[in-house]
Each structure stands twice: as structure tokens, then as C-alpha cells.
Symmetry: C2
Subunit: 585 residues, 2 copies
């Protein structure tokens, strides 16, 4: 028996009892013949006391303990004279009578405290020490709690968790697959799943009725901010349901999670069409924690006075409350911000409605006071507000630029509070997007998404106008989940593959198993997947999904702790019938 209690559970009511604890030395200090050691384990911190006057030899051994030594201590629980209300065990201390060093420690490369002095790189290399920090460990505890809640919720709704394989076939459609050479099938490769999409649809064909899986997914994409090559989905699929059935059920699940994890009661969520979200917020994942909605200004500003606006297809503004006092320098910063390549605006127009009633604008040489008055009314601006305006040839492109600006202003004004949660559903996505790169229509979601039945007549002539039976769950400007009704009619599925530019042969080669399965009484079905990493990040108020992943990879896809990936033995490559050819580019 290494311990009789953990370091988080002793209270004043334990006064007088003899206990054995085990844990790590958080810190120690000498004070007037006494040595105080904070002993830490996962459950908390307990103060140990070594008294020189009582046991000199023991106290001397305690003085030699370094940070992060792993020790076992026996002693008597004593109520403290000066209690520490900041820690759960602050009412007591343990007067040590035995000390056993289980394992010594080198000096850690960074301090193991909530506010550590370790940079990202060193903390990732020594991730096993970083994970000792309560701030990091709590994220993983929350992740565990969420998955337990999710599984029990879905179980109570008759969902069955089914494990689908990790070694499957490669499908070039979509993102890039990770592949796995097969030794037993020389020259052939498995692929790791980007999601269990087709397999869960097969489970619906099998009559599983309600499936879920907390599933590892893999995408070999160039890693932009906050992407990981492997990530986790809460993957769900249901039969004999319509869009509202799915939305209702998963809204209930989200409500359950927010209540249990954060003590927050979600209201009935609004459903906003994709078009409305683009028009009002320039995004298919609007952050509703603050206003600054877009106002379209073509009628006010296309007067023949300012050629940039006259030739623009779209002119939109946001009203930033109380920021008319922005300096020249601040406004220049905002102009630089929207001109950054990843945003790509050509310029930024501002109008300051000063507190004294005067107006100052970057375009006041083009327009008279009556236009600025009309603009003020249209924007709903008050004296003291700042109006920011962007324009462009392509309305949705300009809207996305304005969205970036709106979010920036939300950040600057502290309006994006991590302890507030504004969730909604986005519906009526376009079924297709035009790809300039591929010069063809692509699925907005994936080729199995059901078109809105009302729009099926448009499929041949105006596919770009067809709406999808698809829905995204958005929270605080982040797409946390998304799904759709699926096509369950083989003929419609073939038509879709045709519009996407698949020859029948290619469709068959890639998705033959699914096309065939649909010939045997496929039920109507629909599904949804939440990004678990994102969902946990939001719940925990994290900036990056990395912080809720035990052993994340860096932006080059490397695990710097394991030093993976690495080179293989020649023998391993030979067994796989492979040669590495670094000359290829």
C-alpha cells in the first residue's frame, strides 16, 4: 500500500489521523527549524511539515529533497493554526514521521506551475513534465468528462458505438489521405480514414438505426494554425429521420454538455440560413457574442462621386461603438490589418462620428454632409461611433474581409468573452462550390449530401443555386459540428457523381461498395459529426486545440517528444517493397 490518502482529500475532520501520502515535491522552504514541503498529486496539494526539534535526521533528509522528487510520506494530520482558504486542504498539514524517496529528479527544464517559464518548444519536448501542470491536466480531465457524458447521453438515446476500421481504402476525393503500405499485399496501400463517412452510411444500410463513434480521423494537409494531422470526431448517423430530428437531438446533447460542464443553460437555438449568415456577418460561422452586423451601403454611397464605390459590386460597413476617438495610427493599423495577404482587401474607409457632432472620414472629400448624415442613419451610428467600410467586386469575398475586420474589432473591444457561449445552426448551405483550381463544381460538404428536394429541378441547369440539406453547429464563431441528410437513392447519387465530374467508371472504382449497398433497400438517413478537439477547446476556453490533446504534433507534423516521424531500416523498406526517392519533387 503506497498511500492511504491522496494529496487532495484531507480536511480538518481528519485531524489526528495517521496517513500515508505519495506524490511530487512542488516546493519546499525552511522556516525557524521547520521544513515545509508542498506535496502534489493529481488530486491536489498537501503541506508536509518536518520539525528539526522532533527528528533532526528526518528533517535533514527533507531538506535534501529537490523539486519533482517522487516521495512517500507518513505522518499525522494536524489542523493548521493559520489556515489557507485558497486550497481545499488548507485547513490541515501533515506532521511527517517517515519519508521514503521513491524516485529522484533532475532539475526540471521549466517550472511546473500554472504560469510556467517554459516556451512552447521545450514544453512539447518534455510534454510528460508539461502534463504535470494542473492547468494542462485539467483540460484532459475535462475532455474525459465530456466523452463520458457524450457516450452516456447517446447510449440513452439508443445509439450504438461501433468501431470502424482505421486501415481502409484510399479515396482521392477530398483532402489528402495518409497511406500505409501493406506487406502482405506488395505494392498496395491502405489509407487512414479522413472520417468514417462511408462506413457509417453502410451501417445505416445494415439497419443499425443509430450509430455513433468517438473516432480518430486523419488528414495529410499542410498544417495551418490549429490543425492536427490526427484529430477526433464525435461521429453520428441516424436512419428514418429528417433534418429537424437530427438538429433537435444534437441540440439536446449540446444543451446537456453545456449544462453539465459549464453550468450554462442554452436557449432554443436559432437556425440561420447560409445566405443570411453571409449577408449579416460575412461568415458561415458567425460569432454572435457581439453585434456590429453588416449594413449594405450601395444605395447610400453609389452616387457617382467616388469611383471605387461606384464600380464596386458590394459596399458594406460595420458600426464600432465608441471608437470615433481612434487615432490616425490606430486607423492605419486597421488598414494594414485588412490589407494582409490572408485577408486581401485593397483599402479601408472610415467615418468618425465624433462625440462633438463633427464628422471625420477618409472619404470626406468625395461626399457632402447629407451623405454622411444618411450613412449615420443607415448604420444606426451615434455620436462617438466609428464606421468602417469595405467594398469589392465579389460580394462574398468582400463580406469575408469585412468579417475578419469585425472579429478584430470584437477582440479589441473585449467582446469575445470565453465564458459566454452563443450557439446557432447554419442551414441551407449551397450544395456545390465552384473550384477555380479544378475548374469544376465541388461538393460543399461531400458527394453524399442530399439536395433540398425543392431544388432538385435546378440540378441540371443551375446546380450552383441548389441548396443542400446540410447544417452546421456553430459556437462563438467556430464550426463545432456539421452534417447533412444523405442521398439514399442510387440513381440520385449517380447523378450527383456526374455533376461532380466523375465518370461512372471512376465513381464505381472509388465508391462501388456504397453504390452497390444502396441497391439493397437503403433507408433514409442523416448524420452529423462534432470536432471533439474543438468542442473541448471551447468548453475549456482554450486558444488552441493542442492544449486539450495529450501528445500533439507541431506545425511540421512532428512529435518532438517521440522524435517522430523517423527513417526506417533498409530491411523494413525491403519487406514493404518500397524505395525512398528524395530526388523526386
Amino acid at each position: 500500500m503506497y498511500r492511504t490518502k491522496t494529496c487532495g482529500e484531507l480536511r480538518a475532520s481528519d485531524n489526528g489521523s495517521v496517513v500515508t501520502l505519495a506524490g511530487w515535491v512542488q516546493r519546499s522552504r525552511k522556516m525557524g527549524g521547520m521544513t515545509f514541503v508542498d506535496l502534489r498529486d493529481r488530486y491536489g496539494i498537501t503541506q508536509l511539515v518536518f520539525n528539526e526539534a522532533v527528528d533532526k535526521e528526518l528533517c535533514e533528509r527533507a531538506n535534501k529533497l529537490g523539486r519533482e522528487y517522487c516521495v512517500q510520506v507518513t505522518g499525522k494530520v494536524c489542523e493548521r493554526e493559520s489556515k489557507n482558504a485558497n486550497m481545499p486542504t488548507g485547513d490541515i498539514e501533515v506532521i511527517a514521521s517517515e519519508l521514503n524517496v521513491l524516485s529522484e529528479s533532475l532539475t526540471p527544464p521549466f517550472t511546473i506551475e500554472d504560469n510556467t517559464d517554459g516556451g512552447d518548444d521545450i514544453r512539447m519536448k518534455y510534454r510528460y513534465l508539461d502534463l504535470r501542470r494542473a492547468a494542462v491536466r485539467r483540460n484532459l480531465e475535462l475532455r474525459h468528462r465530456m466523452t463520458i457524458l457524450i457516450r452516456n447521453f447517446l447510449d440513452s438515446k439508443q445509439f450504438i458505438e461501433v468501431e470502424t476500421p482505421i486501415l481502409i481504402g484510399s479515396t482521392p476525393e477530398g483532402a489528402r489521405d495518409f497511406v500505409v503500405p501493406s506487406r502482405m499485399n506488395p505494392g498496395q496501400f491502405y489509407a487512414l480514414p479522413q472520417s468514417p463517412q462511408t462506413l457509417k452510411q453502410l451501417l445505416m444500410v445494415s439497419g443499425f438505426d443509430r450509430y455513433f463513434q468517438i473516432a480518430k480521423c486523419f488528414r495529410d494537409e499542410d498544417l495551418r494554425a490549429d490543425r492536427q494531422p490526427e484529430f477526433t470526431q464525435i461521429d453520428c448517423e441516424m436512419s428514418f429521420v429528417d433534418q429537424d430530428d437530427v438538429i433537435d437531438l444534437f441540440e439536446e446533447m449540446a444543451r446537456h454538455l453545456f449544462r453539465e460542464i459549464r453550468g450554462v443553460e442554452l436557449p432554443k437555438l436559432q437556425q440561420m440560413t447560409w445566405h443570411e449568415a453571409m449577408r449579416r456577418f460575412g461568415s458561415d460561422k458567425p460569432d454572435l457574442r457581439f453585434g456590429m452586423e453588416f449594413v449594405e451601403l450601395m444605395d447610400v454611397l453609389k452616387t457617382g462621386a467616388f469611383p471605387v464605390f461606384d464600380s464596386a459590386e458590394y459596399i458594406g460597413g460595420i458600426c464600432v461603438p465608441g471608437c470615433a476617438s481612434y487615432t490616425r495610427k490606430q486607423l492605419d493599423q486597421l488598414t494594414d490589418f485588412v490589407k494582409r495577404p490572408q485577408i486581401g482587401a485593397k483599402g479601408l474607409v472610415y467615418v468618425k462620428y465624433n462625440a462633438d457632432g463633427s464628422v471625420k472620414s477618409s472619404i470626406d472629400k468625395f461626399y457632402g454632409p447629407e451623405v454622411f448624415q444618411k450613412l449615420k442613419e443607415k448604420m444606426g451610428a451615434s455620436d462617438g461611433d466609428l464606421v468602417l467600410i469595405l467594398s469589392g467586386d465579389k460580394p462574398n469575398k468582400a463580406r469575408m474581409q469585412l468579417c475578419a475586420l469585425r472579429l478584430e474589432m470584437g477582440d479589441r473591444l473585449g467582446l469575445r468573452d470565453k465564458d459566454r457561449f452563443e450557439c446557432l445552426w447554419i442551414v441551407d448551405f449551397p450544395l456545390f462550390e465552384w473550384s477555380d483550381e479544378e475548374q469544376r463544381l465541388m461538393s460543399t460538404h461531400h458527394p453524399f449530401t442530399m439536395p433540398n428536394p425543392d431544388d432538385i429541378p435546378l440540378l441540371d441547369e443551375h446546380p450552383e443555386r441548389v441548396r443542400a440539406k446540410a447544417y452546421d453547429f456553430v459556437c462563438n464563431g467556430i464550426e463545432v459540428g456539421g452534417g447533412s441528410l444523405r442521398i439514399h437513392d442510387g440513381k440520385l447519387q449517380e447523378k450527383m457523381f456526374g455533376i461532380l465530374g466523375f465518370t461512372p467508371e471512376k465513381a464505381m472504382a472509388q465508391f462501388g461498395f456504397l453504390i452497390n449497398a444502396f441497391k439493397y433497400g437503403a433507408p433514409p438517413h442523416a448524420g452529423l459529426a462534432f470536432g471533439l478537439d474543438r468542442f473541448v477547446s471551447i468548453m475549456a476556453g482554450l486558444d488552441s486545440i493542442r492544449d486539450c490533446i495529450a501528445f500533439p504534433k507541431n506545425n511540421s507534423g512532428r512529435d518532438v517528444m517521440l522524435d517522430a516521424p523517423g527513417v526506417l531500416d533498409v530491411k523494413q523498406l525491403e519487406e514493404l517493397h518500397l524505395k525512398v526517392d528524395l530526388g523526386q519533387e
Copy 2:
């Protein structure tokens, strides 16, 4: 709303209510102007009735329904005149008033019933239809139920489920890794984990205290019977515990599972040493559902009369009750059985103690009646019993052959009842095994296993005599789980690597992250992993783990439904800087 009820829930108390059901046509039959259709979904089967006299057109449409059509039906629940006590919905039928074909079906390639006419190959190719069979689906439902029970049990014991990465580094020790080329790190490869062993030990160094994960694991081994390239482990690790703490906790978990899933109350389990298990049953996973324990016969049969026995290091027998009547042919079959290459015995000796008191043996020309009488006493045989004897130069090899024979006799006598569960722990494994192939000592479990502290003095001179602090959970002759105390002392770990023939450099290159981690206050820790696929198979009484896996692979590692693995595009290979070279062998 596609349905108001499922096909499994209607009872006599629903009489008179109007319901909508959706599901698949299991079968239909016409009888005197009526058409009866059995409608099936995951929850059960409900009988539908179409009455020609009431609605001729509807009845005609019902007559056209083929097997496995997916349909929606509305009708009135009616108590049946002749009830069917064999089905939960057997008290009622639904008099259909509306019929909507959701999806037609081709004739399935095999019948979708518990006893199907489909062979293994066709059922795997059309696995999505095979999964419609209740017998198959129930295994996956049980698997789901078990994982929910396991997670909630471990959660209640303060275990945290932590996801460890699937893309890790390759470690040539142990079985062969599956590898994944990294596009972003040309010429380098990830490996898929054979188990999260080292990562869970790092989590202990991190102070996670109690970790678990239901984790996918991967081994690129040649697939013998009942192995899969990917399989699932219930993987656990605990800090500050000794062997008995681990055994107690997981015995409690097993007891909980057997109680909840099978209604069986496990007794307190015995712990048998590896040596005892080998001596009594010739196996480290003895099947205790029946007796026929080994009796060592060297003292009785080494008399100088029979050279084969005189030169044998080991002679052992089992007493098969009531089989003295075995014919010449049956005994020849048994001889052929033990001579099969995978068993490898040279021959089989039998002694029949006939019911009439006479003795007949294949060695009666070598021994007189007094030896057979002594043998009878030693074996505890009665008149009517058959004694089977094997001998050999290498005791444990001969014991394993005798074990195969014992299990065969158990099967023949119907003593291996799938509804009985005999579990035990095997302890005190040898720490090392000698590998003839590698000409060196190998870890019986893995290089992180703690030697028995009493045996540490033997490490240098007699490593083969050192016992491990390792334990296996065995049920009905199957190793369901296994684990060990781990070394948490860096110096002892280095010594172990040395005995296993690792140079310090090689040990560092492969396990440097773990060796380094142990320098920062590693706690004593221990763990265990259950094979989920095996555990489910035992609970469900299955012959193969394949039957509890949704989409299993065949013996060539192929998924015949997905037709994976497959060849890659040239472009994909180029991006990965790889060339396939089938000329290599």
C-alpha cells in the same frame, strides 16, 4: 416523422392505436385474400396485414414487395387471434392502411436470417447485408454495452481516459510495425502503435495516476487464426500500486462485467503460478472448465522396459473418463491429431481400463499388469477410463503437446461449455524467454516489466530463473488480459536493456524519451490491458473475434468489401517520395 414506433415495441396494450413503422421486409406470404408481411428493424419484427377485401390496390402493392425492400407503413394495431409467444410483438399485428416504398432491393445474395445460407466470403463482401442479421448485430450491441460498462466502471474508480496518438515512432523491438510515410518530412515514416505502452507510462510520469483508453492497436504480423491487423485493447495504467492492487481492481471490473452482461457471479479468483499452470495443464492459459489434469509418470514408467520412455525427460498422462470404449479408429485419429505439425508429438500411448476390469494398451508388450495397476492408481483412473500418455525430451514442449490433446478431449466430451466461465490469474511468469531464432534472451512480456525483487540477485548469473511481476487474466483457456509492474528506476531499466542485448546507444535511440522521462521523479506504476475483441467474443460465446468486429479483415489482411488495400496513383507516390519496387524479395 418517418415512424411513430419501432418494430420491437408494440404490445397488446397498444391495441387500437394507429402507428407508423419503418423497416425492411423480412418475408411475406399470401393466405386467403390476406397478405402478411414481417417488417424488421433493429428493435424487432412486427407482423403487418394487408386485406384484399378492404383495400385491393394496397394489397396488390404489398404483394409486389420483395425481400429487403425498405418501407414505411401506417396502420392500426390489432390484438391477434392466434398469438405468437416466440416473439415479443407476437400478441399484435398491424392492419396496414398506407404503404410507402422508401427504397427497393435487389434479391440479396444470401438469406438475411440467423441461419443464413451465405458462405464466409460472400458474407464478408456484402458485410453490410450480413450485419442485418440479428445474430451478427447482437454481438456488436454487446460490444457497445461492454464498453459503456467498462468506461463507467473505470470512471467511477477515478481513471481518466486519455487519447494517445496513432501516428507515433517506429520501434523495431517486438512485432512488426505498420508504417505511414510522412509527406511533410520526406523519407521519414510514422508507425502505428502496437499498443500505447510507452505513452501510458509517460502519463504515469506526468502524474495522471490512473489512466485508461479503449485503444486501437496495430501489428503487421502474418495472420494466423483469429488475429486481426488492427485490434482493440482496454489499456490501463496506475501509479502508486502493487501487484495485488491491480489484480483486485481488475478482478472487480471483470466481476462487474460478468454480472451485468451474463448474470454470472465470479468467485474470488485463484492465482496460479506460471510453473504450476505448466505442470498441471501444460499451458499459461489453462482451461479450468474441466479436469483431466496432467499426471507425471516418470517414476511409474521409467523401468528400463520401454526405451522411448526410458530416454524421455518428461512422461505425462491424462485420464479421460469413460472413454475406454474408444475404437482403434478413434485412437488412430488421436494419434494423427498429436502428430500434426502444429502440435508435433512423435506418438501417442494409450491405456484402456475397460469396464470389465481388463486392460488394453499400445504398450502392453513392454509392461506387466503390476505397472498398469500402479499407473491406474497414479492416474486416479477407474474402470471404463482411457489414459493417454505423451513423452518428450523437453518437458515444457511435451506438456504443450499434452495440453493440445487435453483440450481436444475436452471438446470431444463437450466439456468446454460456452455458457460456463472459469477465470483465474496466472502469476510469476519467467521474465525472459530464450529465443532460438535470435540466439538471445527476449522479454516474455516487454522490456519494461519489473523483475520480482527477490530475484534481482539472479539477474546477472541466472536471468532465466528470474520471475517477472507480471500477471495474466485467463478465462476458459483464453488469455483475455495481461500486465505487469513496470520498472520505474532508470538504472534498473538500463540493466534490463543490457541483458536484452541493447547497446546503450540503441536503447537511447529507441526509448530515449522514456529513459529521460524516468530521470524526473517517475512513480512506481503498473498496468494491464485486456483484449476487447477476445473479451467480447467470450462473453458472446463466439468462435472467432471476427464475429464481434463490424468490418473485419481476412487472413490476407484484406477488407474484401472495401477492396482494400489498393494501388496508389503515381502522383500520390511522388508526393510521398516513394517508389514501389516489386522486384525486391
